[in-house]
Symmetry: C2
Subunit: 267 residues, 2 copies
Amino acid sequence: MAATPPEILAEPMPLLPARPDASQATAGVAKPHCSHCHLREWCLPSGMANNGLDCMDSVVFSRRRIKTGQRLYREGEPFKYLYEVRSGNLKSSLTTAEGMERVSAFHMAGELIGLDGIAEGQHASSTTALEDTEVCAVSFEFLTELTTGNAPLRRTLMQQMSQEIVRELRLLVLLGNMTAEERLATFLLNLSQRLAARGYSASDFHMRMTRADIGSYLGLTLETVSRTFSAFQKLRLLKVEQRHIRITNLDRLTRIADMRAHKHPLI
Amino acid sequence: MAATPPEILAEPMPLLPARPDASQATAGVAKPHCSHCHLREWCLPSGMANNGLDCMDSVVFSRRRIKTGQRLYREGEPFKYLYEVRSGNLKSSLTTAEGMERVSAFHMAGELIGLDGIAEGQHASSTTALEDTEVCAVSFEFLTELTTGNAPLRRTLMQQMSQEIVRELRLLVLLGNMTAEERLATFLLNLSQRLAARGYSASDFHMRMTRADIGSYLGLTLETVSRTFSAFQKLRLLKVEQRHIRITNLDRLTRIADMRAHKHPLI
DNA sequence: CGTCTTTTTGAATACTGTCAATTTAAGTGG
DNA sequence: CCACTTAAATTGACAGTATTCAAAAAGACG
């Protein structure tokens, strides 16, 4: 309770409460109205919304819906858009030589997706919806133009990218130095915090990804993930019911994660 | 020989031949003269040199020398500069909770260092010279200003950051899915290619880092690294003499690395 | 030439992966 | 609504790879 949460797998964006909200969603690809968006305060965290205001309601941001299992984009496809998650959850993954998929990130509402495509003009990863999801597509070309006369937005965008670098750095530490238990504990705490930041319960939540997804992300097999869940349950750290998690001993879970975790505060 | 080199741990910058060249180095922190720099063609790959030309020879880029073992900057220190390696080699590392260091990258001439500091205004990693090294310090504040009226430079900078994200993504795949042999083979091939790109021999080179550094980078213990070197030698893939490596069977080494490596071409 | 660091090698352990079978949930169609 | 099919998750037994602990050898440095 007293301990500072680790937040190793730092979230890309410093979001504040913002619930998925389908009420104002229009069907298909519709003209967006950023000024009414429930995420406007945190869109490209506040940089875009607070600055390039005039452009906010032009038709540069098209909304797109992706059903469960569908891909937003595929590895190797030409890169044209960055995406901001409006509602739902997604995963990004790379394909290995054997055709295996390697999950590199899970995305929640408000998070920015696609930065890895800028380097070479094509997506370095694929992104798949874990549930019915809605994103906002932002033309990178246009965004780049916007930054010309908009220093704050430029800075925000750079910070977003740097944040992504830092997030991956911390994941490197996890993959290189942590045991299965430490990895899963870290993962759960990260999920918990990101959900809490969005106004959901930090101790009682539903995971949208499979055990295989989690394993792939953490560099473990799905069996090890399952076993570790069972072990945590036996230790009374949490209750597991399929993908529903209830954390019952946050303190100990945090200590397990912290055991080797990165020593510095949070993102 | 025929196979395409994997280049998993892609290098951050698409450099071309450029040898360390101390001949024109001035002592200590000196006024830089970019127009005479041997790296000018590839500085922030060509973006800076080709565009913000007028500024090139103002005193915004200060050269700094770091001796073996000295740090360029430390984790947590305020972020002010990006650094471009002029000559020498460095490593970047994070500190874990146990006080252990976790190497996240090795840097060679022409590469850009410090991007992880942008996000939070303080360095997320430490960077240490592996030998006597010379870097060019670029004020990020100034660089940001430069990008205002310089779209190509802006794009280049974004691409550099994205490239760093991609580099780390590939490292994630390595750490999550590869065996010790695959990791070391991949590492050696990456070194080889980066050296070749700088005009050095691709098959006969000197590594500046310790076994512990390599292990830390690859998520292995130094003993495992040493054993794997011995195994490779026994298989006649290469000759090891301390830190001097001579690759004698590039083909097989490539096949070992490719076994699970990322399927896509190169960076 | 002696000290300290780095590297190598060995033996035993431990953790996670692999293979396999079972259980549970979810989705489909009669 | 229920039988059927498929996907996801759990659990066990065993194997394998990398780690840990330990000691010796080889360089590097003053």
